[in-house]
């Protein structure tokens, strides 16, 4: 870059009647300070702030950052001998007027940590309270639905059914199939040692129908649709759409939460069944390849190995998972504050909570129904 004048900020000694004097040259601006090490060298080069020291700024360009540097160097006092242009004086005066000591930020004490912990607990309690409120409101809305089914948001319902259910089919099939393959190969190694090859049907059947199918489906949907629900409703909060809805006298739970919960309660067991089937097909292929168990034998043995009650249990679990994912997604979405940061936090919290709750409830089902179907 060729410039007509040298813009580098620099100093030179200047002749003066009494005492040492210094003249500033070049551009003392933030743009120049961007250069590496230049600022440090300048600061070292500046003569000590001595009352006898004379300063001449007239040939330099000084912006607010440059003025701040000088003002700090002078120890927040005007030097006695200072030559300035009027515009430079205006800038320096503004810097002098507005330079304030900032109060130190309070250090975190043990007491504050204790208070923070308390706030955390209260926050969790508040979430629980809000969630119970949401469930209650949904129950009331369901009564409304039964009373006047023709007024319910059916179009929303079918839209969600498609977006949450149908569009999730490829990914759930892929994941389910791969898990089936992995499971079959792992158990095949062990079963071969005992010559219990035929039991692979029992292991795969029970594991996939009762546990893995519904769980995998629920975790995938929680990540995929739970976050989407929170983000959709959260954006509506940020753009004041939720307030607009309330002004029109339309209930959030009736119009936003209920269709999603209904769609998920129907889509979730279907997706669980679909994932299970994909897993069984993957397992069947892997069993054929690793143990030589033909698909025909696999299919014949399956009804004997897995009782229908397992399927019923798996599907009923899925209904609960679906409703929980929808409610948690809506809960966090409705609690988003009208700013973008809160939206991001809400979405993350929603996914984490949904997956945690799904696993918790699954454990609960496992304990309660331990004597069913096995």
């Amino acid at each position: 870059m060729v410039t007509t004048v040298d813009a580098t900020p620099r100093l030179e000694p200047a002749p003066a009647a009494q005492g040492p004097a210094v003249r500033l040259l070049g551009e003392w601006t933030a743009g120049q300070f961007a250069r590496h090490n230049l600022f440090r060298d300048l600061q070292r080069g500046l003569p000590r702030a001595d009352p006898q020291q004379a300063w001449d700024l007239r040939e330099a360009t000084v912006d607010h950052v440059g003025a701040q540097l000088l003002w700090d160097h002078w120890g927040h006092h005007w030097p006695q001998q200072l030559q300035l242009q009027p515009s430079q004086r205006a800038i320096l005066e503004r810097v002098a007027q507005f330079t304030t000591r900032r109060s130190r930020r309070r250090r975190t004490s043990l007491w504050q940590l204790y208070l923070g912990f308390g706030a955390l607990l209260l926050g969790a309690f508040d979430h629980l309270k809000g969630f119970i409120g949401l469930v209650g409101q949904l129950t009331i809305d369901l009564r409304e639905l039964v009373r006047a089914p023709h007024r319910a948001p059916w179009r929303d319902f079918s839209g969600h059914l498609y977006r949450i259910g149908a569009t999730a089919l490829p990914i759930t099939a892929l994941v389910g199939g791969l898990i089936g393959v992995v499971l079959a190969y792992l158990t095949a190694q062990q079963l071969k040692q005992f010559g219990a090859d035929a039991y692979i049907v029992d292991i795969l059947g029970i594991a996939l129908v009762r546990e893995l199918g519904p769980m995998l489906g629920a975790i995938l949907i929680a990540g995929r649709s739970g976050s989407a629900i929170t983000a959709q409703i959260g954006v509506m909060r940020v753009t004041e759409e939720l307030d607009a809805m309330r002004v029109m006298g339309i209930s959030h739970t009736y119009r936003l939460v209920m269709p999603r919960a209904m769609a998920l309660s129907i889509a979730m067991p279907l997706i669980a069944a679909w994932t299970t089937v994909a897993g069984l097909i993957g397992g069947m292929v892997a069993a054929d390849l690793s143990l030589g168990i033909s698909p025909l034998f696999f299919l014949k043995a399956l009804p004997d190995a897995v009782r229908v009650s397992n399927l019923v249990l798996g599907m009923s679990k899925s209904v609960v998972f679906g409703i929980l994912i929808a409610l948690i997604g809506c809960h966090f979405g409705l609690r988003v504050q009208p700013n973008t940061q809160s939206l991001g936090q809400g979405t993350t919290a929603s996914v984490v909570s949904a997956i945690t709750v799904v696993i918790l409830v699954d454990a609960l089902f496992a304990i309660l129904f331990s004597n069913v179907g096995i």
């Binding site: 870059m1 007509t4 601006t29 933030a30 961007a34 250069r35 950052v65 503004r94």
Partner: protein, 272 residues
């Protein structure tokens, strides 16, 4: 860089020079021409207001000047350099932009927002950065106590002020304003206009702004550029622009609002 591209000595060279600019948005099945052979020159120290109907491409013009949009045809030069070369290190020492909704970073406090361009240089000590940011904050009329607030806790006027402080942190010679007073109540709007005027005077800023607000328009601008029919139909002193014969100009200035505008013209000889 070659000597041929060296900027001319300051003073003679226009701050913004737009020649034969075409802005075209290609969407599948539709071609939208926003600007066609648009010319605009802004000299140092001017306050140019860009007015025009909705969809006449005022904001697109600002984005072209900022180098955010690429010209379909034609040239945009800022201080002698093509606009798309302005970005990169230290860009905020060349142009400051006040976005319509502030565009404050929502994850940062006000102080961190204002200090951000300085901090990104990575060459200045923390103390100086904080002090410089505090000076700018108070210069635009915020209180030191506002420094630790998050953007979500600010009112509309305070957001504009904080965004202005951030735009000015490196004392850029050129300041762009997109609807600086939109969404402000008349009182804050007046204060904001006064603030802009004093900053323009003190910092020798060149200002280009897009506004619909006639009060702001006449109180601040030294020139008005009217955007219609895909180019600048007139770019002159406010009085000359009002006298210009064009359906849009007549509707914009000489309708019912025009009466108020004329009164304001008498009231603010600054504008003429």
């Amino acid at each position: 860089m070659a000597a041929a591209s060296a900027p001319l000595p300051a003073g003679t060279q226009p701050v913004v020079e737009i020649r034969k600019l075409w802005s075209v948005f290609d969407t599948p099945g539709r071609r939208l021409v926003i600007h066609k052979d648009l010319d605009l020159t802004v000299q140092r120290g001017e306050v140019v207001s860009v007015v025009g109907g909705s969809g006449s491409g005022k904001t697109v013009l600002l984005r072209q000047i900022l180098g955010l949009e690429r010209p379909h045809r034609g040239e945009v030069h800022i201080m002698g350099r093509p606009a798309d070369q302005l970005s990169g290190r230290g860009a905020s020492s060349r142009i400051g932009m006040l976005f319509q909704h502030g565009a404050l970073f929502s994850a940062f406090t006000v102080l961190e927002n204002v200090a951000f361009p300085l901090r990104e240089l990575k060459t200045l000590p923390r103390r100086l950065i904080v002090e410089a940011a505090m000076v700018k904050l108070q210069m635009v009329g915020l209180k030191p106590a506002d420094a630790d607030k998050m953007p979500s806790e600010l009112s509309g006027g305070m957001i504009k002020r904080a965004a202005l402080a951030r735009a000015l942190i490196m004392d850029p010679p050129l300041l762009l304003l997109d609807e600086p007073t939109a969404g402000l109540d008349p009182d804050s709007s007046d204060t904001f206009v006064n603030l802009l005027r004093s900053l323009h005077r003190d910092l020798a800023l060149t200002v280009i702004m897009v506004t619909h607000d006639l009060d702001t328009l006449f109180e601040l601008s030294t020139r008005i550029a009217v955007l219609a029919d895909q180019h600048v139909i007139v770019n002159d002193k406010p009085r000359e622009v009002i006298a210009f014969r064009h359906p849009f100009v007549e509707d914009f200035f000489l309708g019912e609002r025009g009466q108020r505008a004329m009164e304001l013209l008498r009231e603010y000889p600054f504008a003429i």
